[in-house]
Amino acid sequence: MTTLKSESVDIAGPTDVVILRQKVRAWSIELKFSLVDQTKMITASSELARNTLDHGGGGRCLMEMVSNGARSGLRLTFEDHGPGIPDIDLALKDGYSTGNGMGLGLSGSKRLVNEFQIASKVGEGTRICVVRWK
């Protein structure tokens, strides 16, 4: 996979979530995502940024425009040095129609993207990487 361009966005406060959304929108448009795909990616970035802020104590998001030969896509890597997630499987479960807590943000975002990877260590932090292909 090659990276065509990248930018790091700090997530320190609630306004940063909005800033990130706007940047993700701009890049999605540049990548010519369909309107629905744009919406899904921007919403996923909002969810994950919020998680980074609310549960990770703040962190950063690395935005990358990537290409794997034929396809181009948008990769977002959220990183924080917060408390970490003790039970990732539990965090990824959710009740489909209830909307509460951290679970929905993570598991919901997973459904909005094509690739989803999460690594977390209690006491050290969390890294979540998502990719949406054109």
């Binding site: 609630p14 309107l35 899904k40 969810e47 919020r50 129609s97 909307g99």
Partner: protein, 131 residues
Amino acid sequence: MERIPILRMGNFLLVTIQVDMHDQLAMTLQDDLTNAIANHGSRGVLIDISSLEIVDSFIGRMLANISGMARILDAQTVLVGMQPAVAITLVELGMSMPGVKTALNVEAGMDLLRELVSAHRMETGDDDSEV
């Protein structure tokens, strides 16, 4: 501090959300709306989100909360104008907002609000004949 304006139309309140809201703005809206319902004795709230291109779980919860709080204050809420892409994304996210009433646009929303308010009035035996 910036706030989202709330319009009053007789017994109803109308809110049009047009900006990409950050958390503070959303919380302020929640406060302002509940205060307005209480102060004016409003019976219905119409929330127009036809300009919102992104509704994440936070905003979704806020909208559901407003609907719940309004009901406790004896007001009906109708959410109008959700864009197709937003609806598709919310469903994929897992948010179905079960208690929230919706309509296609402001006109349909106002019709629905009037229906809901008068039905509610019948149910609760409210003598207030103002609409």
